[in-house]
Symmetry: C2
């Protein structure tokens, strides 16, 4: 605790309630899903969709969004290389804390440099760091330019912009790669499904096959099954359909013939409404709605 040195006289404090106990409480395993990719590649979209999908299964997740953190924890940092590194380091440390708390922590940051991402990976037991690479070509990201940043970068109004005048180093050893197929972006639901499948396979979502109606909150014994159906799962599902639709249209404008638009705007939602109506007779039909959402992509 000298004023000069940093980490001297610091005692590690162990607590009897640890990660294992918290994981048991939550019925899941804590980990970090680290989403990396160019600006406009769909990182935040995937983060939100994944968070919705996990929530609908009664799993606790939390999104650490790079932009949001720059309003708080990292507001003292610029975009200079050394500050980018410190930005990623801090997010990595916080993500590690969340994973230790038992949550599925979804970190969504451009995180362009391989060494910075690998440093975060090194903080966690290897299997608990799941790197998701949004492999979307620069041209497609720039064509979308959802935040108008590429335009500013091309005009020289932003310096050191990843993909334009600062490099993006793609992962060499990522656990999951998400990319457009035949020029089509996957829907948020399909992308989330890909990650959820991985998490399921690796045992991070224990007991996800137990009754879906709020595997955590139902413990309170307060909410009836019908209440639960009207709450998170249905809301999350309707939100998923809407998000899928908007994302599909935003992402594939050049693909849309007028027939296609008519089908998407009118027929497709009715198919889902039909299933929604059916679900009130039999809530269990919700459990396999992933297939539906995927039709958007293969449509």
């Amino acid at each position: 605790m000298s004023t000069l040195s940093n980490s001297t006289n610091i005692f590690w404090q162990e607590c009897p309630v640890g990660k294992v106990e918290r994981q048991k409480l939550l019925n899941q395993r804590g980990c970090v899903v680290w989403i990396t990719g160019l600006s406009g590649s769909g990182k935040s979209t995937l983060a939100c969709s994944l968070s919705r999908e996990l929530h609908s299964r009664g799993k606790l997740s939390y999104v650490l969004d790079g932009d949001n953190l720059r309003h708080g924890l990292n507001k003292d940092l610029s975009f200079k290389p050394e500050d980018r590194t410190e930005n990623i380091r801090r997010v990595g440390e916080v993500a590690k804390l969340f994973a230790d708390a038992g949550l599925i922590c979804i970190a969504s940051l451009i995180s362009p440099y391989r060494k910075d991402r690998d440093a975060c990976r090194a903080m966690l037991p290897d299997a608990n760091f799941i790197e998701v690479y949004m492999n979307v070509p620069l041209a497609l990201c720039e064509a979308r330019d959802t935040k108008g940043l590429y335009k500013l970068a091309r005009a020289g109004k932003i310096k050191g912009f990843t993909g334009i005048d600062d490099p993006y180093e793609p992962p060499l050893n990522c656990e999951i790669e998400i990319q457009p197929k035949d020029g089509f972006c996957a829907t948020p639901g399909a992308m989330a499904g890909q990650v959820v499948s991985y998490l399921e396979d690796k045992g991070f979502l224990k007991d996800h096959k137990t009754p879906k109606a709020g595997s955590v909150a139902a413990a309170g014994g307060r909410q009836s099954d019908r209440d639960m159906v009207m709450n998170s799962p249905v809301v999350a599902w309707v939100a998923n359909v809407s998000a899928d639709l908007c994302q599909y249209i935003a992402c594939n404008p050049e693909r849309l013939s007028s027939d296609h638009v008519l089908h998407l705007l009118f027929c497709f939602p009715f198919q889902h409404l039909h299933r929604l109506a059916l679900s009130f007779c039999s809530p269990s039909t919700f459990s396999d709605h992933d297939d539906d959402r995927d039709t958007l992509h293969s449509d």
Copy 2:
């Protein structure tokens, strides 16, 4: 995203799964319990005890320990005044994230300066920042000197040590004050009980009166009642009794007559074992064991 300015071109990313949804999932309300006080005043002891007590009620908490964070997130910071401020700021920001995630975040730091603590309070909606002041006299902390740091500070081997040659500014508006009574330190269980009562009164622990056997994990439907009794509640309770005993002895050495020691070491545990045995016949008898633990203090 200019290389010069910090927070320009940053877009706030809203996610449809928010704090309210996570709180519903967890059946609790996220908040920050900020424990402040001199080195050796019992902050970490309270943090652990509180975490155990909350866990035994099926509530998800996470401890941000100042010392532990200096091994990770804050390892680049020294104990210079400006670095202390940055240390507290970062912990405040991370605590805010945990509260937003729905957890009861227990931050345990000396946090000597009032303005730094108030800055953290200002980050959160007022009622969600619960400042706990460990009001233990310097003389008592120094007499205990659990980490041997006061000795080093008095010998001039540590500069800027809080309470010796750096000030501690007590809170003016804390929510909870914990102090020795008649020179006796409260037991960890009693201290945790004081905080839990506050959290209960303010509605942070919703539905805590529902069956105690793991209000969250029980949702999985996997563990029998007997399993649950043998798991977290009993383990936490036994740990509580042990911790209480050790803490009491460590904290009140001058009070211990040989009769007292005999009573503590032999009679007191047997009283608890008796109750433990009884509890196997009737698990519900666990629900009011707070009274027991408090006898340590008033003993």
